[in-house]
């Protein structure tokens, strides 16, 4: 018997249009500042945007299943502080245990969000608003407010993301690998189809045997794990760990997802689009100093980007007010 199969929505047209837009932006900046397109500068751009790319991939998963994760930056910061303190205490241990530690702890922190949203059907916005504060505060409790400085971190710890291959930092390569993995997995993997179904039409999905709540749990855990590892990468790249790192960064991550075509109502979004969204924001951010605009404008620009993206999306689709509601 032929039961119609659920098909992942086609984002090709939107992604192509946005790619053109991003290229146009890049072109405009390069036209004004020819040095912008130099390999060195591009490598630097990718290095700067790497963490945003990885976080945005994770956030995309969460938004796909009608959730949102405001705690992603606090998760990053907490795991980053953990990584730094670990390195300070056991400098000979190397990078591998740090990666494992941050992956696991980040995943656990994400799973906390996921459990509350899945089992108790709590609204994601309220849950992650709460965990955001709890995780941030936990950094203070852990570190007692003290910073971990460069000279307290082991050489391996710091060198790892900075190693260069073919002109790009390892950090940039990791981000590209993660992006590529997401692009491929979201088209092929069975669980990807279930995620899209759970977000696009949770009722129909549950009739097909997919548990939308469980999909949310998976998304939050994966997002948290990615955030955890990015915590180590952030701390190693900036060579410092303190309570307020990445404060407010969750808004840049969400902006990148929204402008990349991820629908806030769930069920729609592509990894390619999110990658382009990150590059778009990254280009704007690095061109600011060239134009002479202070870095203090970054947040305002993010706000403009978010609002522009949601206004444009709202005209296309009929929204359900889903983020304040659970999948109940």
């Amino acid at each position: 018997m032929n039961i119609p199969r659920f098909r992942i929505p086609d984002h090709a047209r939107r992604d192509a249009a946005f790619a053109v837009l991003t290229l146009a932006l890049f072109g405009a900046v390069t036209f004004t500042f020819p040095g912008f397109a130099s390999p060195r500068n591009l490598a630097g751009l990718l290095d700067d945007t790497a963490i945003l790319i990885m976080l945005a991939m994770g956030q995309m998963l969460v938004i796909l299943v009608r959730g949102i994760d405001l705690s992603i930056a606090a998760n990053l910061a907490l795991c980053g502080m953990l990584a730094a303190m670990f390195s300070r205490a056991w400098p000979e241990a190397g990078v591998a245990p740090v990666l494992a530690l941050t992956l696991v702890v980040g995943g656990l922190l994400g799973a906390c969000n996921g459990i509350l949203v899945w089992k108790l059907r709590l609204p994601p916005i309220v849950v992650t608003l709460g965990t955001m504060s709890v995780y941030r505060g936990a950094i203070f409790l852990l570190s007692k407010g003290a910073w971990v400085n460069e000279n307290e971190m082991s050489r391996d710890f710091l060198a790892f993301p900075r190693r260069e291959f073919l002109g790009l930092s390892l950090l940039a390569w990791i981000a590209l690998a993660v992006a590529a993995a997401f692009i491929v997995a979201l088209r092929r993997a069975r669980v990807a189809r279930d995620l899209y179904a759970a977000g696009g039409n949770p009722e129909a999905a549950s009739y097909s045997g997919i548990d939308p709540g469980r999909m949310q749990f998976i998304a939050y855990t994966l997002c948290g794990a990615l955030a955890g590892v990015c915590g180590y990468l952030w701390v190693a790249r900036f060579a410092v760990a303190y309570t307020d790192i990445a404060l407010g960064f969750e808004l840049s991550v969400i902006a990148a997802c929204l402008i990349g075509g991820v629908a806030i109502a769930g069920g729609v979004g592509s990894a390619v689009g999110v990658l382009l969204g990150c590059l778009f924001i990254g280009i704007i951010r690095s061109s600011l100093p060239l134009v002479g605009i202070s870095a203090f404008w970054q947040m305002f620009i993010n706000g403009v980007v978010i609002l522009a993206a949601v206004l444009l999306s709202a005209r296309q689709r009929d929204f359900k007010r889903t983020i304040l509601e659970s999948l109940a």
Binding site: I68, L116, L120, R121, L122, P123, I125, V126, V127, L129, G130, T131, M132, S133, V134, R136, G137, A138, F140, L141, G145, T243, L251, I254, A255, L258, I264, A265, S294, F296, W297, Q298, M299, F300, I301, N302, G303, V304, I306, L307, V310, L311, A314, R315, F319, K320, R321, T322, I323, L324, E325
Partner: protein, 311 residues
Amino acid sequence: MKPASLLRWESMLAAVLVIEFVLFSTISPYFLSVDTLSDATFNFTERAIVALPLALLIIAGEIDISVAAIIALASVAMGLGAAQGLGTASVAGIGLGTGLLAGCVNGALVTLGRVPAIVATIGTMTLFRGAAYAVLGDRVLKDYPDSFAAFGQGYLIGPVSNELALFIVFALLFGVFLHKTRWGRAIFAIGANPVASRFAGLPVNRYRFALFALTGLFSGLAAVLLTSRLGSTRPSIAQGWELEIISMVILGGVSVWGGKGSIAGVVLAALVFGLVTFGLGLMNIPGIVMSIFTGLLLILVVAVPALVNRR
């Protein structure tokens, strides 16, 4: 017409309040003095004044997490006005006007732009706070006229501060409005079922817009009070307040899904919350640790009823 569950919630809050009083007065002998208690009120009046319209907004099924950013924007606007030499009345007017305008932006995004409230206010939160940072950078604005301080630092009668008096008056007005008038009834209906409300002839979008504008206006008022109390403006002013204000509303028994809640509950929650933060402050616990408490409280307040209902 209040459901039994809500009355139980308010009684529980009242009980918690009593426990707090007992606890803190045993910890510190100075706690029960009128002066101390009067000081304690400053911990919640500004936030609570915003919690009142926000409660209406959440009951109507919406949300606004840009309230703290509106406070910051209004404060920056006032600082700029004061720096130009404007008098107290004008400065306060600028604060209120900025808040109202910001609220209207939110309202327009949700009703005309058809953007879901959560994303719209995430966007405006970033925009407004971003504007504050963009304009001010790392500067501080301090040139407020002397009489401006009266809002936040003045006392009406004896130990009752101007802020507390304002809060009491507005709490009463909001309480009557929400629970006794037909507009309040409409707000409950819109939150419980916006579609059926529309089919019943209620102008749902007009109500939504008005509530966003009102929330913005009162955020502006909070900005006036806070700025006048601090005497200065930084772009980071009221950072993190959105979490605390929303927590006050939810702790007050307002359902996150809309359609249920009471002003009495929100007032009690504001008292509970304010007293706890004041007490923790007395014990020298830093703000960031207090926010762990706030975060946990918010989660508990929505989790416990959900757990109970699962059985």
